[in-house]
Amino acid sequence: MKLMHNILKKIKPHFEKEGALSALYPAYDAFETFLFVPNHTSQSGTHIRDSVDLKRTMVIVIIALLPCLFFGMWNTGYQYHLQLASAGLQSIEDYNFWDHFFFGFWKFMPLVIVSYVVGLSVEFAFAVNRKHQVNEGYLVTGMLIPLTMPIDVPLWMLALSVIFAVVIGKEVFGGTGMNILNPALTARAFIFFAYPTKMSGDKVWVHSADKIDGVSGETALGQLASLVDIDPNDETVISKISEFSSDGAYSLSNSFLGIIPGSVGETSVIAIMIGAAILLFTGVGSFRIMASMFIGGLSMAYVFNLVAPDTNLFMSLDPIHQLCIGSFLFGMVFMATDPVSAAQTNKGKIIYGFLCGVLSVLIRVFNPAYPEGVMVAILFMNVMAPLIDHYVVEANIKKRLKRLKVDE
């Protein structure tokens, strides 16, 4: 560390004003502040002394994501080996815990590296061009993007979606803190609509599922989408439905633990709950949004339960089970709570979260083309958030004006 410090100190004059490389000062600044606590002090006005800044906040979110990350790696390997076993090629007992984990690790790390290298390069380019500091907004986005991807996504597509998300989702609005949409979801939406064959169907969620015949790597949501208009007495339908019962592949306990196919980070409810606990304990994530979104999703699922016809298993699925599959909870904890794109007022947060939950379940049940309704729902509510805030503030102003009249 001392060596790094000395090197940075030595080359600093080149980057300062009138140095040969002064145009690249934001890049230098980013490295210096990333590695060391900067000795900058405020130049004027009052200021608050606090150890929490953007960088610390971001690091906490990264820590909260680690359980999902590690579990996702393990699950990637486990699902792959399970698939080999079900195709009769190998037995699942041939592999131990670390085999699963390291298989997933080597498959997943390229996604993380591509996401960070491409995303940070774009951020650096913009910072140098606009002569502002590189800020840490991308640290979390860069981790979220690969976690929402299927494991086999081609790297160039990932890179393209990262560029799209950073440039169109963030930099055109003015950079970190100014974006309307959540950049990580923008990336996922881009790749979802641009290359649907790589982002949906039953052959993308488990590594190289398309090369092995006769196995299904369908997500629980995809499976459910095929159970919307069914004959309850049909043989194949009954076998499909049994997969959601307590000893099936998509049972509640499997969904809760996360040993089902899906995007890398979304499967395990336990890992997400650990992340949520870290976010709530440190006060980084908003409790109001998480709770109201959970209640929103739950109440929508209950309403569907009440009106569900016999021929629609998607609607009659148990509400808790409904929320445990797909990326509902992952979106709730890590995407909807994004402090930039969510609603800002306390009341607004509750309305925003509730509608996120309601829309997520509504879209996933009624539109089989988008089984992943959470993504679309949160993006939609991101757009609506300023409107919600506006009306909350207006209502407050009205209320206080009334009080003023009474006093007169």
């Binding site: 081609p154 160039w156 055109v172 641009a194 290359y195």
Partner: protein, 212 residues
């Protein structure tokens, strides 16, 4: 005596192509720019249709400008444009049935293209024939080159073709794992591509950026 094609005339043509572009600066005629730019061929047909309608309409209105009663001028303008559009529609149906079918209502909707009515109202009603003709030509080309540029990007990346033909190098790319970008064919991408053109134009010319 004024020359036949002086500096002012040049400006009439050049301005709408660049810093007074009807789409990127005045943000008019966006609807058709978004709707028909999935294929280059459609964009070219549309451009030609608009060039014809605009130049003819501007010339006719310019000739009639001293005889049109002020209170019914919009109706007269609309009548002229509508008959010209009907003409274009019939010609396309006769000679380019495929393109006509793909463009479907959008040929008819040239009538409501804000650029045409805008130029008639703002320019042709108060200027001489030759000036009005050049102004219409410039604006139609300004509209057209944006359309063609957007359609070029969208068709190339969206379906890997140009003018309906496969692009030669793409077969190698497909083997390497390249795929066509479906989003390019969807409407949002047209908005984004137009937005990127606006961004480029504004970063080249700082005068275009409004002060807050």
């Amino acid at each position: 005596m004024k020359s036949f094609f002086n500096k002012q005339h040049q400006k009439l043509i050049a301005d709408p192509m660049g810093d007074q572009n009807p789409i990127t600066i005045q943000v008019l005629g966006i609807c058709s720019a978004l709707a028909i730019t999935t294929q280059l061929e459609n964009a070219l047909v549309m451009t030609l249709a608009v060039i014809f309608v605009m130049t003819s309409a501007s010339s006719i209105i310019s000739i009639l400008r001293n005889h049109i009663p002020n209170r019914i001028r919009i109706i007269v303008q609309l009548l002229v444009v509508a008959s010209l559009v009907a003409l274009v529609d019939q010609i396309l149906k006769a000679f380019l049935p495929d393109a006509s079918e793909q463009l479907s209502v959008f040929i008819g909707l040239i009538i409501t293209n804000c650029i045409i009515m805008g130029r008639l109202e703002a320019f042709a009603m108060g200027n001489k024939l030759w000036d009005s003709f050049l102004d219409a030509l410039g604006n139609a080309f300004g509209y057209g080159w944006i359309l063609v540029a957007v359609a070029f990007v969208r068709e190339l990346f969206g379906s890997g073709k140009l003018m309906g033909y496969e692009v030669p190098g793409f077969s190698y790319l497909y083997e390497l794992g390249y795929m066509n970008n479906n989003l390019m064919i969807l409407p949002p991408m047209a908005l984004i591509v137009v937005g990127l053109i606006i961004w480029m134009q504004r970063s080249r010319n700082n005068d275009l950026i409004e002060e807050n």
